[in-house]
Each structure stands twice: as C-alpha cells, then as structure tokens.
Amino acid sequence: MFRILLITSLLSLSACASVQPWEKDLLAKPSMALVADENEIFLDEHIYFSKEASTGGQGVGGGGCGCN
C-alpha cells in the first residue's frame, strides 16, 4: 500500500510547472494555507484521537491525552 501511494505521489509531482515568485499571489492568500485554521484542525485531531485508533500524519509533537 505504501509503495502504491509513493509511486502515485511521484507521478503527481511530475506534473509540476515552474512557478515564478510574481505568480504566487493566489498561493499567498491566507485561505490557500494548507492549514488555514490551525485551531480547527487541532480540535478535530483531538476529537478523532479520542474516538478512533489512528493518529498522526500531519506533524510531530503535540500534547498527550489520557483519552486514548
């Protein structure tokens, strides 16, 4: 499964165009941040950490919790 995901990822990157600094106006908008609302993602991660067996994927660190 990991191998399939990695190959698919590399293929998707091959489609990249070279984007110049002056073409990054859209990418620079706050709404285009990969995490546009950190607290929302933080709270979602806490909810699902306590209700599901999976965790992680988005970063390292963060506080522990006795809820799981």
């Binding site: 990054k24 106006d25 990969l34 992680g56 390292v60 660190g61 006795g66 799981n68």
Partner: protein, 452 residues
C-alpha cells in the same frame, strides 16, 4: 509545531486580493513577490513584527446521551525578529458524561463496579453498559520557537505538557525545514518525543484480574502508577504544483512502548449459556466476590506508519482543501481518512465552508467483544475498547466566517458526527442483542482571530 511546519513552501504575502489580480501593475506584483520572498512563516493574516497574532476557539462537543466536552483554546504567535517566531498555546478540556468501558450488553441485568472501586451501578437488560461517573479536566500548554538559519532554512523547537487528574504528559519536538532556491518546494524532517504517566484512581487494575464487588471482603488487585514513551519521526515535502495549486506529502513513523493498556477498561466474561458468567462457574474463575468482567491487557509496544497527502487549489474565487491519510500499525489496524473542505467566497469577507470527513478502520488483532473463561485464561492480549473495533466515522459540517475590520476574523462551525461499528461475537450472537449501537455527536466551534 504540530501543524505549522507543513505550510512553508506556499510563500505567504499578507495581501488581500480579488479577482482583479490580473489587472495589478508590474510594480504591485513585484511588491507582492518581494513580500512573499521575505515572509517565511504562515500566520493566517497580516501580523506585523512586534504584534501578537491571537487565535482563540471554543469547542462544544456533545454525544447523544454520552460524553460532553467544553474545550477553549488560545494561541498566540509573534515575530520577535526577522523570520523568528515564538508561539504559545493553552488548552483547557472539561469532560462529563457516560462512556462505555468495555462491558457487553446482556439479556439480563448487570451490576458493575465503578472505576473508583467503591460503588456499583446497574445496567438494564439489552442496554449498552455505560459508566456514568466519567468526569475529567485537562490543561495543556505548548511553546514553539522558530529560528531562521539562513534565507531558506529554519528550525523549530517545541515543548508541550499536559496534565489531568490521572494522566500527565511531557514532550519535546524539533523540526528542520528547507526551501528550494525557487521556493517551490520545502523539505522537512521532524522529531518528537514524549513521556506519559498514568496515575489511575485507586491504582491501575491488574491485567486479566476479575472485577471485584466492592461490597465483598476481597480486595481488588491493583498496581500503582505506570508510564509509556512515544517517539515520532516525520519527513515532509510541500510542492507548488502551479500558480493555483499546492500539494503536501508526509511520511511518518511512530513508536510507543511501556504501559499501553487502558487502566480502567474491562471485558465481559460469558458463560456457556450466553449470559454473563455467574454462580459456581464465576466463583471458580474469579473468586467469591468476582463480577463477570476481567480488566484488559494490550501489548507493551506499538509501531505506527502514516502516509499523508493534502492539496489546496484556488478556483476563480473559491478554495478547495482535500486530504487523505493512510495509517497502518502492528496492532492490525489499517485506516483511511478522507477530508474535504470547500470554501465558497460570498463576497465582502464572508465565506461558507462545507466539510466532509470519512474515516474507516479495521479492528485490532486483539479486539474482542467478550471472552469465555477459557479464552480469558489463554489469550495473551485482549481489549473490548470500542475504538479498536472495525468502524466507520462520517462527519458532515458547515462553517461560516467573516472578516471584522482589517485584521480580525470570526468563525462558527456546526457539524454532525456518526460512528458505526461492525461487531460479531460468537458468545452472544444467539441472544439477538444490539451489541454496538451507533454513536452520534454534535460539534460546535466558535473562533476569533485578532492582532494585539
């Protein structure tokens, strides 16, 4: 630093733009590009050096007839020097309500000892047993410091601690990120360690020991405190795909070791008649004061791997943000998580954002809904924790946001969560019981962001 280190490649200017972008002068575009090159971090809006970017949220989470959670969060970030940031976050949790601790429904009334070990509660026939004395508060604090090494490289170090009545955690993390010279890629590697300590009410329950009736004369076998440690490593790549699309990939590996059992959870012991063990069979198995439940036991190590992909794409006005996570561990759990957010720009700083999340997982190798006496004597590990079942979680929500003045934003979201389980139990299947009723929950969150 949990989320921030994922955002760098998308050089951030702090300009508000409209669909007039294409009409901007060359000078304006160069100004924006210069800002983009100088700005390495990704605060949600335009804090200036010396200003605190304050982000507050209040979460209300409520399950149908079970747990309720109130959780305020405040975070504050400040650029203390060029590209050098400090960030602090304070979280408070208050939980109350009822939650299942592992006992299976039965066609007869059940009597179960509370986690404190001092009293009992009764469960009606056919009902899913819920422990109603669940109550906890938690305070968590974290701090991050981002230090630029040069124009393209930076390191973020962080520390966090959290405390609740019976559980404490302390951790540290470090993340190194480097942009390509054209800033269309960011490579990162992060490390995290943490140490957790359980100090359960009355001591941790002995694994596979029978639950004892507190009105009897036999003491419940108990241990003291126990610990576990966690280690995380993550490799990340953020890639600008084209002028309106950015993509992120993370590969993560985590290990936990030590006491990974839940000190309060237990498993029903079922007799040959399909009912909770009773009479002489129960006395023979657990002693004169035993109730027909044994405390769970999990392996003392766990290794997890994650693959995470996220893409944000800008349409003419709207933005779509979609992510997928594949998770697998050596407890036999595989999961897939799909998350989709679409931001409809309504104009005038207003937006609506529908959210869909779909999650599915397989059950842990040692998950069981109940045990027979023989099984309890022979299995190495067992848990009836509903979160280790085969399950599906579906969440559907809507968020509304509006900019207030130049530098602040108010948001509110409401979501409905449903969790369904697939449980089979050869010990109980003949009883025609509803073994695993759905879990429904409401999520409401208010957010306010401003500069100070």
């Amino acid at each position: 630093m949990q989320l921030k280190n994922t955002q760098y490649a998308e050089v951030n200017t702090q300009t508000n733009k409209t669909d007039n972008d294409n009409k901007l002068s060359i000078k304006s575009k160069l100004t924006m590009a210069t800002c983009a090159l100088l700005q390495a971090s990704a605060p949600a809006a335009q804090a200036e050096t010396g200003e605190w970017d304050i982000d507050t949220a209040f979460l209300y989470y409520s399950e149908d007839a079970r747990i309720s959670v109130f959780e305020p969060v405040i975070s504050a970030e400040k650029e203390i020097d060029d590209d050098e940031f400090v960030k602090f976050k304070l979280v408070y949790d208050a939980l109350t309500g009822s939650t299942p601790y592992g006992a299976a429904p039965s066609s007869v009334e059940q009597t179960i000892t509370n986690p404190s070990g001092n009293s009992t509660y009764s469960v009606a026939p056919g009902e899913l047993p819920l422990n109603s004395s669940f109550r906890d508060t938690r305070v968590a604090f974290s701090g991050d410091w981002t230090i630029p090494l040069d124009r393209l490289k930076r390191i973020t170090v962080g520390a966090n601690l959290s405390t609740e009545y019976d559980f404490n955690s302390i951790g540290a993390s470090a993340n190194y990120a480097q942009d390509s010279s054209d800033r269309n890629q960011t490579y990162s590697v992060g490390l995290g360690i943490s140490s957790d300590t359980w100090d359960p009410v009355g001591g941790k329950n002995t694994e596979f020991a029978y639950m004892i009736d507190p009105d009897g004369s036999t003491p419940q076998p108990k241990g003291g405190t126990d610990t576990k440690s966690n280690f995380d490593v993550m490799f990340g790549l953020t890639q600008v795909i084209n002028r309106s699309t950015i993509m992120q990939f993370n590969l993560g590996h985590s290990t936990s070791s030590g006491y990974l059992t839940d000190p309060y959870r237990y498993i029903s012991i079922i007799g040959t008649d399909g009912l909770p063990l009773s009479g002489v069979d129960l006395v023979n198995a657990g002693g004169a004061d035993a109730f027909p439940y044994v405390y769970e036991k999990r392996p003392d190590s766990r290794a997890r791997n994650t693959f995470f992909w996220r893409t944000a794409h800008h349409f003419t006005e709207d933005v779509v943000n979609v992510s997928y996570r594949y998770f697998t561990d050596d407890w036999g759990i595989d999961s897939h998580t799909l998350d989709f957010r679409y931001r409809f720009e309504l104009g005038g700083g207003h937006y609506l954002q529908p959210h869909l999340r779909y999650y599915t997982q397989s059950e842990a190798d040692f998950y069981t809904n109940s045990l027979t006496v023989a099984e309890a004597n022979n299995v190495e590990f067992a848990s009836a924790d509903y979160r280790l079942r085969e399950l599906v979680t579906t969440t559907l929500g809507l968020k509304y946001g509006v900019g207030i003045g130049k530098n602040s934003e108010f948001t509110v979201r409401a979501e409905l969560m449903n969790q369904t389980y697939t449980v089979t139990d050869p010990n109980l299947d003949a009883n025609n019981l509803e073994l695993a009723p759905d879990l429904d929950a409401v999520i409401v969150q208010f957010g306010y962001n401003f500069f100070w």
